[in-house]
Amino acid sequence: MTSERERLTDLALTLQHDVGKYVTRAARNLPATDIPAALLDMLVADLYQTDGAQSALSVYDARLAASGVDPAQVPPVIRDQLVVLMSLEAEVRAHHGASVEQARALAIAVDDACRAFVRALGENRDDGASS
């Protein structure tokens, strides 16, 4: 495994932990209707104060910058969905129903994309090892 490969692996694992897991904590647990306010507050915190004061998108950008990995190496779908998520902030903070539902779906999609990124690296690693 090259050092570049190691950096990419570390970044994937970091994104899965620091972004994917965090944005879906409440999102995966929202009931379809009558969502308690406490859970909505948790969702807001997960998305827009993911790392204390930082939003999920800010955390993503910071981890990517710190990794030294070429952004082109990372599936763009993760950041694209985060950008949309950020655009919903005002409506989600206002507990607007449709926006909350959209944010929930996007958050889960971000986590799924992060996990798929990790899985793909693992599979490629196995391919490399066997070749």
Partner: protein
């Protein structure tokens, strides 16, 4: 029936942040939680719940505290990544000293595995759900470290419903001893009755009086069953009344205010320390009449007044009292208050039978002792040394194999995953003949000694290349060794003991001081530590008596060629941490 079927499962959360706690507070309401706070009752009824940060452990240190406080944890939810300062991180026990030092980032990323290893050393069969996935572990280049009690949460980690189902599945297949306790009841009718009564009383608020000969396991019953099953969230606190100077017992139990007596400081007593939990008053028959009066008031009013104070503090404590003296006789003689005796609920008291009255439990007790002797600590290191020397895979567990039965003590292990300590028919017969005046404590000491000495012997043979691969997986326990250990038993015979050919022959020894210069044993001591202390003391004494002549020591300790055995004795001498004096 599992513990989980009778009460909500108790979960310990181990996470450096608060996210799982928040999630649990919001969604996982079917559980109770192992908390680090002193308040009684389940987490959900706690007034501090909003914003509470005491419901979980943030690092290994706090995990260890929680495990000590809660003997009845059913499952641990353990995070993998711990973003903690370096000084709060721990290493795995298997870290290879010759390997490159892992980076701080890696240690943080895999801290869950290090904590898992520590949990395993304390609670080998406690189910743990690790908040990671196989992909993550594989990419980290880490072993799954998955034993049969570890489950990886994968994508279920933050999905409360999926996580709840996962917990249920884990608990359903868990084989932690029934009632969440480590207490070995065995199969005898006497112990079956004790088990039934203990479990009933554990769930009540009533005081419980436990009687039985020394070494029968009264303290273990108190902690591992009566406290563990009670569902009380507070700590288990014990006080050995006989070990305290008479003048200090009151202050120790009830606390003191500055100036209450010479040298007194403001200090909570054991009653307050046990708030929300259980207090064991061991050797309660030794209390002075004045302290008995004060204890009676606490039991009646459920309030405690520190010495030197005038206001009483409410206490919510389940009181257990243990003794090996006949309290009824003490009442008749005026040494024990009749009203206090009545308050201790003697009608529903528990009597732990002596080992000689439940010989059918010997196999289970031997199996448990063999397993626990090598589960952790220095003796686990000896096992590891042997496995390495014999070319066996690391991580094999110790298991008792008794003549005529299959291996015990690691029943869930396949044959290839265990190292067998084989007790021959004659060795077992020697044990069965013995009266065990020291009861379970003596049995554990004897079995631990036999296994350790035999393993030392096997290690010597393996080091010398004398063990064949086929023999290496079995460590025989010879009859002559068991006979020798029984013959050197230091305990006086118990009243009414059935003395066998290997038993203690001197009836007058029954009047001897039980300690007789030996290290004192307190109820809180772990049997493993007691065994080691006693063995160390024996070796020290023989070393002094023989002027450091290992051959002479071997002649006293072991049968056979003393010259050949001298090396074995010296090896054990060193393992016990003793050093040759120049």
């Amino acid at each position: 029936m599992s513990a989980a079927a009778r009460r909500p499962p108790k979960v310990l959360l181990v996470d450096d942040g608060e996210r799982y706690v928040e999630l649990a507070h919001a969604l996982l309401r079917d559980y109770t939680y192992a908390t680090r706070c002193e308040l009684p009752g389940p987490c959900w009824t706690c007034a501090r719940r909003p914003g509470c940060t005491l419901t979980h452990a943030h690092d290994w240190g706090e995990t260890e505290q929680a495990l000590a406080r809660h003997r009845d944890i059913d499952v641990v939810l353990l995070d993998m990544h711990f973003e903690l300062p370096e000084e709060r991180l721990v290493r795995t026990g298997s870290d290879d000293a010759t390997a490159a030092e892992p980076t701080l980032a890696r240690r943080r990323a895999l801290q869950g595995l290090a904590i898992l290893a520590r949990i395993r050393a304390l609670r080998p069969a406690l189910p743990v759900i690790l908040m990671t996935s196989t992909e993550e572990l594989r990419l980290r280049g880490a072993d799954a470290a998955a034993d049969e009690y570890v489950t990886l949460a994968g994508a279920d980690g933050f999905d409360a419903r999926a996580l709840g189902l996962l917990v249920e599945r884990v608990l359903a297949r868990a084989t932690v001893p029934a009632f969440g306790s480590d207490y070995e009841f065995g199969q005898s009718p006497a112990m079956a009755r004790l088990r039934r009564d203990a479990l009933t009383l554990a769930r009540t608020s009533l005081p419980v009086l436990i009687t039985g000969e020394p070494g029968t396991g009264k303290s273990a019953l108190a902690e591992q069953v009566l406290h563990a099953v009670s569902g009380r969230s507070g700590p288990f606190v014990t006080v050995d009344v006989s070990a305290l100077p008479e003048g200090l017992v009151g202050a120790e139990l009830f606390g003191s205010a500055r100036g209450a007596f010479s040298g007194a400081v403001d200090r909570a007593g054991r009653f307050e320390a046990a708030q929300g939990g259980t207090l064991l008053l061991d050797e309660v028959g030794n209390l002075s009449l004045e302290v008995q009066r004060m204890l009676l008031m606490v039991l009646q009013e459920r309030r405690v007044t520190r010495l030197g104070e005038h206001h009483a503090r409410p206490v919510d404590v389940k009181v257990l009292a243990a003794t090996n003296v006949d309290l009824r006789e003490a009442v008749r003689q005026g040494r024990f208050r009749a009203d206090l005796y009545a308050r201790l609920n003697p009608a529903a008291g528990l009597t732990v039978p002596p080992l000689r009255e439940r010989r059918e439990d010997l196999p289970a007790l031997i199996a448990r002792t063999v397993y626990e002797t090598f589960a952790q600590g220095p003796d686990a290191a000896l096992l590891t040394s042997y496995l390495r020397a014999a070319g066996l895979p690391p991580g094999l567990r110790a298991r008792a194999r008794l003549a005529g039965e299959k291996g015990l003590g690691a029943e869930r292990d396949e044959p290839k995953q265990a190292l067998d300590f084989a007790f021959s028919e004659s060795a077992l017969a020697a044990l069965e003949r013995h009266g065990f005046p020291g009861n379970v404590r003596e049995l554990r000491l004897l079995v631990a000694n036999a296994c350790l000495l035999s393993l030392s012997d096997a290690l010597t043979a393996a080091d010398a290349g004398r063990a064949s691969a086929g023999e290496a997986r079995t460590v025989p326990i010879p009859e002559r060794l068991v006979d020798e250990l029984i013959a050197k038993s230091w305990l006086p015979p118990a009243r009414g003991a059935v003395r066998g050919s290997g038993g203690v022959a001197d009836a007058s020894a029954g009047e001897r001081d039980e300690h007789d210069g030996w290290p004192p044993v307190t109820p809180r001591d772990q049997p493993r530590d007691v065994a080691r202390d006693l063995e160390r003391h024996l070796y020290e004494r023989l070393y002094a008596e023989t002027d450091g002549d290992f051959e002479a020591m071997a002649a006293q300790l072991l049968r056979g060629d003393a010259r050949e055995n001298a090396r074995r004795v010296q090896l054990r001498f060193n393992q016990l941490g003793l050093r040759v004096r120049s």
